[in-house]
């Protein structure tokens, strides 16, 4: 049951992430938001609002031309990086060391989660080793009783 649900979630997730790359307009919008205007305003290419901007019309024309030529995303980024310099890409997508930029934050998060789980395990093990064996409380439903106590005392503290 859980396995099926997991598979379904995975399919939906993949379907969602794969969507959006299919139409030419969509692709132009997506790629145009992954590039930066090089006039010095540091705006996303399709969001540069400068009248008579010296850079963005040329870049937009290049982007149209590249899409029309059927180049892949990677090839388009390579073209732009070669023509305008690597800072034209709004995010590090050239591969190689650029990949480290993407790995860093998630590695930090995963490492942190692993550390918490490890600490929890160590603490529990130490707690079990040091704590004397508690006598069995002869309460038939300790959880229910604890919940009730919490309910009745939780309001003010």
């Amino acid at each position: 049951m859980y396995k099926r649900a997991l598979q379904l979630i995975l399919i939906v997730f993949v379907a969602f992430t794969m969507l959006g790359a299919s139409t030419p307009t969509g692709r132009f919008n997506r790629l145009g938001h992954d590039l930066v205007c090089t006039c010095g305003c540091a705006e996303i290419l399709l969001e540069c609002n400068h009248t008579s901007c010296p850079a963005s019309p040329g870049e937009i024309a290049d982007l149209h031309a590249q899409i029309d030529s059927g180049a892949s995303d990677a090839a388009i980024f390579k073209f732009f990086a070669a023509k305008y310099g690597p800072t034209v890409l709004a995010e590090p997508v050239r591969g190689g060391f650029d990949t480290v930029a993407w790995i860093g934050p998630f590695a930090f998060l995963l490492l942190g989660i692993a550390l918490i789980l490890l600490l929890l395990r160590l603490w529990k093990a130490r707690h079990a080793r040091l704590a004397p064996a508690a006598p069995e409380i002869p309460t038939p439903n300790a959880d229910a009783l604890r919940d009730r106590i919490r309910d009745e005392t939780n309001y003010g503290e």
Binding site: F16, T17, L19, G20, A21, S22, T23, T25, G26, R27, F28, N29, R30, H33, D34, V36, A42, E43, I44, E47, N49, H50, T51, S52, P86, T87, L89, A90, E91, P92, F97, D98, A101, W102, G104, P105, F106, F108, L109, G112, I113, I116, L117, L119, L120, W123, K124, R126, H127, D143, A144, R146, D147, R150, D151, E152, N154, Y155, G156, E157
Partner: protein, 713 residues
């Protein structure tokens, strides 16, 4: 006046040095039981008074600069470069912090002001306050050294006589919010120096117990509140002035303000674990150390030009000084921690993964991951240049892909954390507490999909931004779930109070909040944050369109029809402007007239650049955001860009709730009130034999009972 200001700054430096030296000597003598020629307690008191006097001296210097601005004293180099005769008085005041020297003076003055309050309130705990005061004076010395010897606010122009008029203020800063945004931000930055000083002091003196945390909690919350307000005012300024349709551009300087906010938020949460269960002592100390270090790093990033930023107007070579100060602070923190780490031994440990402690731990982890992401994204261009020889751009797409999922995880924890009990939570309690929020999430998702929020729709595919729509859907649904959990918590508590007191639900909720302002103020802050998240999610559905608008031309966008009535030009001594008058119709009815404007500040020769004044029609549903981009050189027609930005107002409303919640959390809770009730004791003697020593009223042996008069915490 410039001379008076310079002398005041020198005097403030001398007094701060005395505070540091005398404070250190006296505290060392007291801690080691050493006798000095003068009693250490007296030396400590003189150090405190010198600290107070340094505030007066820095205030005098700040006043001298204000005076120089308002009297147009262009012989002062700083005034010459940041003001002009035509500049309105309102902005002359904000010019004080528009450049390097003035903003450093503002920093020094705010630090002195915080120190003043701390030293005045020293009776709460004299020794701890003496430690904090001494540490604070160390920080103060650094900033006073800068304004005395490196970045001089009272430097005189060559020749000693200034020109007839100044260069004026950067046009981007000529906006009402700029008068209040930097001081708010600085109040937050500088404010974190106080809990830092307390934490370092408590560690140095091996402070017994957790009282220092209670003392510093309000200081931390106040600093956090100021920083929150500062960040939000900056967002609003960017939204209303820069004219690109957004409010957060992930600029390095914006990032610099966000980082200490994130770690400060983590500290405010994890500190509860130390108070309640004696856990995470070392962690908390480091959180506040890091928060302070990040405020210095933020200033370093702003000042040094290490990374490219729109705040480049504040750049200089002062960064080296900040690097050394940063190294010194880190060394002191590390040494103090290592020397006293045995004092930070935890009294309890985490017992269950499904517990309040655990949720705080994950909350801390996610906040730190967010902080790391921002730091990583800010510094990666420098790292990339070092490794590959070329800089890269870390723009909004990077942060949107990395920080948004982390933010959604944080939103999830905001809802889950308060529903878990301390130590461990039973399965039954989980089921009971989570049912309603889960139902709310499912129902909201269905309603949103029915209402048209469909990430798979052709419209989203055309915009090429399916991912943002999915995040927005998840964020809004999760947000409603969290709000449901918060409301359920209020109702549950209010019901108990209602049962006890018989008051109606509203009165019970108010009483409940007053009984535990910290807890329920915290819930209100969470509520505000969720509202802000929903507002941020709205950006996934932004629309924009650019159009030339001549007389009578109209466009339709997002349910609005905009008709151009006229366009014209204007001029005043400070700037020239072009503007358009646009009538806005909704459902065939005229709702407002907007006047987007473009200004050129011709007085300003130092920072000459055009500036936009955005026109916005706001509603809870969306903002119609209109920018006058310029005129077509071929036909002189205005080029107007229109944006539809959904739910932006929710962000500002959310902030107001956060501020309100913080004030509630700062208010002391209702205390137990007791009433003396006399009842005859079985041991009491015969009432006829009254004890005259008690005024004949109360018989010896009677038992005074306390009866709750007011609510009890």
């Amino acid at each position: 006046m410039p001379f008076f200001g310079s002398v005041s700054l020198l005097l403030a430096l001398a007094l701060s040095v005395y505070t540091l030296l005398a404070g250190t000597l006296s505290l060392w003598a007291i801690a080691h039981g050493r006798a000095l020629a003068i009693a250490p307690e007296r030396i400590r008191e003189t150090a405190r008074r010198a600290g107070i006097a340094s505030f007066v001296a820095v205030t005098a210097a700040a006043f001298a600069l204000v005076w120089a601005f308002f009297t147009n004293d262009f012989s002062v180099d700083y005034v010459l470069h940041h003001s002009s005769i035509a500049l309105p008085g309102f902005y002359k005041f904000s010019s004080i912090w528009s450049g390097q020297e003035g903003s450093l003076l503002l920093w020094a003055w705010l630090l002195a002001a915080y120190g003043f309050v701390l030293r005045i309130r020293h009776k709460t705990d004299i020794t701890l306050h003496a430690y904090a005061s001494t540490i604070l004076s160390g920080v103060q010395i650094f900033f006073l050294l800068l304004v005395n010897f490196i970045a001089l606010p009272f430097a005189i122009v060559p020749g000693g006589v200034g020109p007839a008029d100044g260069f004026g203020l950067n046009p981007l800063l000529q906006y009402a919010e700029m008068v209040i945004h930097p001081p708010m931000l600085y109040l937050g930055y500088v404010g974190f120096a106080v809990p830092f000083a307390f934490a370092l002091g408590a560690l140095m003196m091996r402070y017994p117990g957790e009282k220092w945390i209670q003392i510093t909690r309000r200081w931390t919350m106040v600093a956090w509140l100021f920083l929150t307000c500062g960040i939000i005012l900056g967002m609003h300024w960017a939204y209303a002035v820069l004219g690109w349709g957004g409010y957060w551009g992930w600029d390095p300087v914006e990032n610099a303000s966000l980082m200490p906010w994130l770690t400060g938020t983590a500290f405010l949460h994890s500190v509860m674990m130390q108070e309640k269960r004696g856990m995470m002592k070392g962690w908390n100390v480091w959180l506040i150390f890091i928060t302070f270090i990040l405020t210095i790093l933020g200033t370093l990033l702003t000042r040094s030009g290490l990374v490219s930023s729109v705040h480049a107007f504040a750049e200089s070579d002062i960064g080296t000084w900040f690097v050394w100060f940063l190294v010194l602070v880190m060394a002191v923190c590390l040494f103090t921690f290592l020397y006293n780490r045995d004092h930070l031994r935890n009294e309890n440990h985490l017992e269950s993964l499904v517990s309040r402690e655990s949720s705080f731990l994950f909350n801390n982890l996610v906040l730190l991951a967010a902080c790391f992401t921002v730091l990583w994204g800010t510094l990666f261009p420098v790292l990339s240049e070092f490794v590959q020889g070329s800089k890269v751009t870390m723009g909004a797409p990077f942060y949107n892909r990395v920080a948004v999922p982390i933010g959604i995880f944080l939103l999830f924890l905001t809802g889950v954390g308060p529903l878990l009990a301390w130590r461990s939570t039973s399965l039954r309690a989980i089921r009971r507490n989570f049912v309603l929020p889960c139902i709310a999430i499912i129902v909201t998702t269905i309603v949103l999909i029915i209402a048209g929020v469909r990430p798979w729709s052709a419209e989203n595919q055309a915009s090429g931004d399916v991912g943002s729509s999915i995040y927005a859907l998840v964020c809004i649904a999760l947000g409603v779930g969290v709000i449901t959990a918060i409301v359920a918590e209020f109702l549950r508590g209010a019901n108990v109070v209602h049962t006890q007191t018989g008051k109606n639900l509203v009165a019970s909720t108010i009483l409940l909040t007053r009984r535990n302002t910290r807890r329920y103020g915290g819930y209100l802050i969470h509520f505000g944050v969720v509202i802000m998240f929903i507002g941020l999610a709205g950006s996934a559905f932004n629309q924009s369109r650019e159009s030339e608008m001549s007389f009578g031309d109209s466009i339709n966008l997002g349910g609005y029809k905009v008709v151009c009535q006229s366009y014209s030009e204007d001029s005043n001594p400070n700037y020239d402007s072009q503007f358009a008058l646009l009538d806005v119709y909704h459902n065939g009815k005229k709702i407002t007239r907007l006047a987007p404007e473009r200004r050129v500040y011709f007085v300003n020769t130092d920072h000459a650049q055009p500036s936009t004044v955005v026109a916005i029609h706001s509603s809870l549903q969306n903002d119609l955001y209109v920018v006058f981009e310029g005129t077509n050189p071929d036909n002189d027609k205005p080029i107007i860009k229109f944006f539809i930005n959904p739910l932006v107002n929710w962000i500002w409303v959310g902030v107001v709730i956060v501020i309100f919640g913080t004030f509630i959390a700062l208010v002391p809770p209702l205390k137990t009130a007791t009433r003396r009730v006399e009842v005859p004791s079985p041991l009491a003697p015969d009432p006829t034999r009254m004890d005259p020593a008690l005024g004949g009223g109360l018989a010896r042996g009677s038992v005074p009972l306390t009866a709750p008069e007011g609510p009890h915490v």
